[in-house]
Symmetry: C2
Subunit: 424 residues, 2 copies
């Protein structure tokens, strides 16, 4: 606690850490109101300091050992769901123990016998295919070890990439694997962490959805969560709690606040016979995503080809176009794509519209791209197409990967795009 | 017309051109039902050919010279709105004269004295900043020459890039400039061409919206069109007629089938005093868009830097993240961004979520990116941020461009994102 005088006024509050990215000469004080106020160091006269530390008390968690309940493994990886604002400092810190999350949701112990696995503690933008592979192995280990289902908590930024990765890596799944996270850290009044976690646990414990799915708020209120197929989900808003949306697909189910599940569309169902999962966890890092936009430089294809890349997903315009007739400093998308395909690189084209299908024949330019060897990705999102291609190239030969890429493997390609799946 | 025998069956219809991208050994016949049927050439026995050509009769357009009506210039550039299916061949061809479009909308001559300018005839994926500049000059010429407003028709794939470009190039606008197009070619029963064109003309002739806007179907029925700000629009579906959506913004207005305009939000209004427009039409082609995704290779920044690029827009995750702590083969996004900024490259970060704002301070990784010199793009779409940066660097020095980039110039940055602007 600190008291200061600035000009004629006095201010009292908690001295905040001056994070490295802020101005170096600022003093920041968190006032009783909760607001921060900042002054130039040179303008401030310090009146009083009190360096006693406060400690934070967590409530006790209820016992998690009710053996009559389904065994669910919660795999914890970090992200906003595992962060709290430190009211002493105003900074966001990671939970020391993921179990702390459970202290706030005592209802969880009524629906599942939870076992927490603390895997990593990283923000999702720093998660790569290395973590996806580890996560897939850990999920398989838990399920093969007797867990009825798994809940994976992670940061939301790249959750739809990770859910696609787990979908492909965990073939032959016979259990619900439900990913969840939070758009608001878990100690804020508006946090979505607990409802998301509770609903995800309910789906893992009670549903027969043998797919990798994402469980996040369906609306901006705490009404219910959507369960969205891991290969058809996308974070569509940078901050809203209902940011995750099915793309060219309906949600599989809705889950209410009390854990009741309403099924909305078809899904892969659990079968009675149990089987062991053998995760296929390779991933070809030399897979790229590029944007074909007006004035875009087709030599980006050569750049990746020269670096030894084996797959490229192009976010095309509309039905899956690149510029075709126009050249950029003598470079042509069509020629560069043809040359790259001829050297064995797999090239997929998605649509930057996000919603809707690509097409390989409606317009002449589309047919030319197709003839050059590019594969139009039907109704896959760019992110799922990227993850699918990286996964295929990491585990299969070029020919096989290319053939599998155009086929539906985990619900990522639908034969028809339902009209009602736009902007829902 | 051709008759063929295949095995025991006979087929009769119009012989279709075998486009270069199709199989070389196929014969394609359009049947009386309208469906195409294809056979291998080797399996077909030709029974009869009739090579007489049919000619297509166009109805007469009504006179467009009612001098009491507002003068509106229609600038035609090609795209689906200007294409027709040739029922002799089944191929899509461009109109020989854009005036043909008007034959189908006689109501247009009741609201405007239209003058058609035939600029280009290219699909929008092949349109570059060269055409944007020409278009801006042509619009300015028409408006300076006495037109009350301008309608620009073009292909839809890159219309939102072009609308942003015209918005920036046409500063000090005192007239409506309304862009429109079609998702279905103009001779199909489901074509949106005519209603879009009529509504766009109504806005150009009657509204006081002194902005560049996009006029396209607001719903999948022919109910009304949305008028969306040129810097806040995005094609969000590859094929639906209501594909164009405002992003982090409301539509400016709705226009009904009979041309009535309902204003929905604030906009720049026409002023009584007329002024001449001086379009600022430079564009720096050495501006790139890249995607920061899991496993993405930060050396893409160096690739563009070495090619002399002066600006890069990064589509980050969530609030505007790149991977920060993870390295890709020794390369770091943070270090590469810092180095590029130090050499004078302007780097902006948008969100690949599409909806929502970026933020430069909520998380430590965001602050690090900001400290490295990257500019978080507030609530600009990636496409508008790209066009804005290319336009600024094409017309202003680095310092000025960088300072202007962070400021709102044409409604592309809103101070607050209204909650109700998500997925509308």
């Amino acid at each position: 606690m600190i008291s200061v005088r600035v000009n004629d006024a006095e201010f009292e509050g908690a001295l905040m850490p001056n994070t490295e990215a802020n101005a170096d000469d600022a003093i920041i004080i968190k006032m009783g109101s909760g607001y921060n106020i900042a002054f130039k160091f040179s303008e401030v006269k310090i009146l009083k300091k009190d360096t006693k530390k406060k400690t934070i008390q967590f409530p006790q968690a209820k016992s998690q050992n009710n053996l009559s309940l389904p065994k669910i493994s919660l795999l914890y990886t970090g992200g906003t769901i595992g962060s709290k604002v430190d009211y002493m400092t105003g900074g966001v810190y990671m939970l020391t123990k993921p179990e702390e999350l459970l202290y706030e949701v005592p209802e969880m112990s009524d629906i599942a016998n939870l076992r927490v696995k603390d895997l990593f503690s990283i923000p999702s933008e720093d998660m790569s295919c290395v973590e996806w592979s580890e996560l897939a192995k850990s999920v398989a280990k838990e399920l093969n070890g007797g867990a009825r289902g798994a809940v994976v908590s992670m940061g939301t930024d790249t959750m739809h990439y990770a859910s696609a990765a787990l979908s492909f890596m965990l073939g032959g799944l016979n259990s619900p694997v439900v990913m969840t996270g939070a758009q608001r850290s878990s100690d804020r009044g508006s946090s979505d962490a607990f409802m998301n976690l509770f609903c995800a646990t309910a789906v893992a414990a009670k549903s027969d959805i043998a797919e990798v799915s994402i469980c996040m708020h369906a609306t901006s209120s705490d009404d219910y969560c959507n369960i969205t197929r891991g290969t058809k989900a996308r974070k569509m808003h940078s901050s809203r709690r209902d940011a995750f949306r099915p793309i060219n697909d309906k949600p599989i189910a809705r889950v209410g606040r009390t854990g009741e599940i309403n099924y909305l569309s078809q899904y892969r169902k659990m079968e009675r016979a149990t089987n062991k999962i053998n995760p296929v966890t390779g991933f070809e890092k030399r897979t790229a995503m590029v944007i074909a936009h007006p004035n875009s430089d087709p030599s980006i294809i050569d750049f990746f080809a020269e670096k030894g890349y084996r797959g490229i997903i192009i976010e095309g315009t509309g039905l899956g176009h690149t510029p075709v007739s126009t050249k950029h400093e003598g470079q042509s998308w069509l020629e560069n794509i043809r040359r790259a395909v001829d050297t064995g690189i797999v090239i997929g084209i998605t649509t930057q519209c996000i919603y809707g299908r690509t097409n390989k024949s409606v317009y002449r330019n589309l047919r030319l791209l197709n003839k050059a060897g590019a594969i139009h990705c039907e109704d896959m999102t760019p992110e799922t197409a990227y993850v699918k291609l990286g996964w295929l190239l990491g585990n299969y030969g070029r020919e096989e990967a290319s053939a599998m890429f155009a086929k539906n493997l985990r619900g990522e390609i639908k034969e028809r795009t339902e009209y009602s799946t736009f902007l829902v």
